[in-house]
Symmetry: D2
Subunit: 334 residues, 4 copies
């Protein structure tokens, strides 16, 4: 029975707590949140104690789940690893690649399982696409096309602290691209515009619409399309073109009702909205996979290095967007 | 070059004239219509003479295409066969099974190709379903489910002369059922109601909504669902369930635009409306098949006997609907 | 906090236990099963006591969930109601309409909530279809078409005790038909054959393939198609045709991967297989609805009378199949 | 009755001849092909004379349809315009932007209708997407995503003379992008690789897989994905994301058969293969539109300037691919 300490009791923290509660091989040992009331509420619901500090929580568990705000992630990873605990940390490790690399040096040598919260790797559809590719069903992969659009803007405060769309939103797609390509991109081109809300550009120097193209050493191509707003719902698609065929992991609806009228035939429900709903199974499967790794002391399915590499792609894209040129990944990650 | 005489220059006659005009191995030799202007118009468009009588038209051709009003079909078939011509006749042969059987006796012994206008057999989708079944792709057929709904009511006059929905509309489905089952139904149950327009019942003793169930000697089941009005368009589906799988020949849209909004995702265009549009390829393929048979003097893909048997099923259904009981096909066709 | 006694700890009982365990307003108070080990296992998993008898279990709870074998249902309902408890009973109440009517007399006068386990009413897709119809989105309903096919045969023993396909499998469709039609069928026609496994006919007098047609007083039509075996998976569809449009509640896949190759484009995963997987949300929603009714002492969404009427339709269908004729529902339910 | 001279009697020329033959307001007046037998064959089929030279053909018609090899296009346009004839010219005008601009100067001042063979603008699905956008159904356009993949390699000789994939294949997508965006792209980024057939790179300096990203002045983004080989068929999709919704013009199958088995559910037929089949309606509609313009002396729906601008985008993409950098359209088209 793996005893897990939950650090951070916000929306995602609560979701993870419920998954741990249902897991037959793990238990929620203790929770911590800088906002005491948030911690108390989760503790009451899942009947576990509240820790006074993050360090206390870490001490009293076998593994640590970090769901606090991004700037605290790297510190907490270092503390948990120093304390000999397995770590599940929500993405991203940090908005600064430098800080992430410092964290990597700090924990170098540790064999403890670390998993980064790249939930989409565990989505049944996306994973089936990857599995089909690995099984050779579509031959060698030539192109990966990822579409990821949010249903609507996050709050102004969220966006201000997000590090920009490439580090906050596209980061998932950079990870998914690596997962699908099974080969490292070496070049990144990114462009975008603040066409939905021009004040994003003037206030934050950010954009709301993004297109990224990447290439691997062997010539595999990858396209990523993002938007902060898709009025028709959370749009999450992955397309893999191979030498022998294609697979597409498409959008998911809450049920399969289709409507037929004089204006339109076969229209379905709006898509599952938003990531908590769309990726429910993915979040659960990701955490279950981590629990297994933590118990076995084995490698995770989305490790620290995956976190580093996704962020390096984001960093390269940031430079590309700013300088309007192709950026080699080796420019940002030596 | 097969010289074809067209009898009947209405909507369907014109459509057939255009098909003949495009055919590399046939030519529109002469046309006739009791309404002289209708004949003249088609003759002008396709540059061929107008016949003074149906008999004259028959005399000057190798084959005869009968697209006149239903009550004239059987007479014209008899005349054309007597004159030694191959015959393509629009469905139904006649609304009276008795008259059809008399016609059969009248032409008995002739080896001339006769084809009845059961266009749906030639629809690419329906035919692919049949071919998949014949090829064994879905194993032995166990169930056939046919949905056929018109987009809207025909005119009052049309309905009055139609012989009722079972003889006019379901006749196509009876033929399609036989084509798909590859075995004769032996029992028919039909029920229906005038739920869309109750005056159909009071004025004509007819219904607008129909469900038919049939069974073959070996236990294959077939369901037919009809409606005179489907506000979302002309609905034409065939489903075959076999021991090893299922195929469905679905509806066809004019193009593949899908719309995605906050209320509905993936809705397509309204269906092709109506039979001329939906079955364009089927009408052409059917006539082309007839032209080949007429030239070769060989059997057609929808022969006189198919016309008899479809009408016998309609007749059994009429009795079933009236008497609210299962009717053996042998009761109406000895 | 509603205390629920679970009677019957088999496959469905276990599933209900898990739902109760997750419910915020109910608790699994005690369990009973004639096979002591089955009860012990569920009790251990959900940390509750085992009752020595069904009566003991009933006594120690506010509500009773009956998931024992069918022949015990009516007795247990009577006992639970006599003891003043709300009741959730798996379908069917009994295979004998006579016994069900006796049960109805025995509990007459009780206002205690009783819910029958017609899970499909709670399926999100089917319910959305019903809601669309109730909201007037498709106008007045004219036709209901239900397709229900199992992925494969149940065990020989199961079938022997099932009361025949019409009482065991079609019973769900009879209930769904009533739910969708919002009007009572007055006439039933059923036909079928043992075309998949002819020994069903010779050994049990049963069939494996069924088509049923029903009609309401106002002329609404309903078609039900069943098969004991659909090699492509558990096929569960409901189609509603109304005066203003159509809705179809379609099949559900585990995820939305589509495959594209030279032989086939857009093929999806096999369907969710079998009812536990396909109707997971429906089972949970049904039980949650019951818990609310039990707490409030209010009417349920699938009550005893619904159980009676579905069985009456099954009974009428049994007579129809045997005598090959239309049967009035009033013949079997005076 | 518009008399049309056909120059070039290859595959596309023959297709256009058949369209002219069916048009009620045009006639095939004369044909020419440098290969005399090719011209004779078309002349025989459509019963028209063969011209000794292109100039003779031009002289004897009201309008000229140029379907000869690409290097002859610009010369023939100049001759036809000089002779006062309306012109329909297959794409591209020339592989050299310089030559195209010279041609533009040569015909400057002429008001004669000229249409370039950008058939995809006339595809019913693509056009419905454009129309939906123009009608405001999806709000202001933010993103255009075009997927265009050929089913298989053209011949080595074809590729050698093609001017490279960007000028030969992507040229259609550049035109389609402009048509959909309704605003000129100002920046182009292109990348690619010869991942399917590496000898394309070594022999021709060409690639077989391409991703292009373009941006307009107002910040609209456009992505184009190409492949010379898609084993699952000719893949032609256009997706428009707007402020109020999305439309997708998807692929088209020959019919709507779906197959359901234990491995796959709902798979459809392979896509229509290749452009002659997929764009049959588009080719016909494009030519019909030209005939109307030629008769009325009015502007065409895909004019000379459209040909110039699509080629300029291709040219910018060629530079981008070669120099691995973003290229302003103004660099290539002053």
């Amino acid at each position: 029975m793996l005893k897990i300490a939950l650090l951070g009791c916000g929306r995602i923290g609560k979701m993870h707590a419920a998954t741990i509660d249902r897991a037959p091989n793990a238990t929620l040992a203790i929770v911590f949140d800088p906002i005491a009331d948030a911690a108390k509420q989760v503790a009451a619901q899942f009947k576990c104690p509240v820790a006074a500090t993050a360090e206390d929580a870490i001490d009293q568990a076998d593994a640590v789940l970090i769901a606090t705000s991004t700037p605290t992630h790297a510190d907490l990873i270092e503390k948990a690893i120093a304390a000999g605990k397995a770590v599940f940390c929500e993405k991203p490790i940090d908005l600064s690649l430098e800080r992430v690399l410092a964290c990597r040096r700090a924990i170098a040598g540790s064999k403890l399982p670390i998993q980064i919260g790249f939930n989409r790797r565990f989505d049944p559809g996306h994973r089936a696409a990857r599995d089909a590719a690995r099984a050779g069903d579509i031959g060698d992969i030539q192109q990966v096309i990822i579409t990821s659009r949010d249903p609507g803007f996050a709050s102004r405060d969220y966006i201000r602290a997000s590090g920009g769309i490439l580090r906050d939103m596209t980061i998932h797609d950079f990870d998914l691209a690596r997962y699908m390509l099974a080969e490292e991109p070496v070049e990144v081109f990114a462009t975008g515009s603040a066409i939905i809300d021009p004040t994003l550009a003037t206030e934050f120097g950010d954009v709301d619409s993004v297109m990224v193209v990447m290439k691997t050493a062997s010539g595999k191509l990858c396209s990523i399309t993002n938007s902060r707003v898709a009025t028709y719902g959370y749009d999450q698609r992955v397309e893999l073109l191979g030498a022998k065929g294609m697979v597409i992991s498409g959008n998911r609806r809450p049920h399969e009702l289709q409507r037929f009228g004089g204006e339109s035939t076969g229209g379905g429900e709006p898509y599952l909205n938003f990531f908590i709903e769309r990726y429910t199974e993915a979040f659960a499967a990701g955490l279950e996979s981590f629990i297994k790794s933590a118990i076995a002391g084995s490698a995770t399915e989305a490790d620290f290095d995956d976190g580093v590499k996704a962020l390096a792609l984001a960093e390269a894209a940031v430079v590309s967007l700013r300088e309007n040129r192709t950026v080699g990944v080796s420019e940002v990650l030596k």
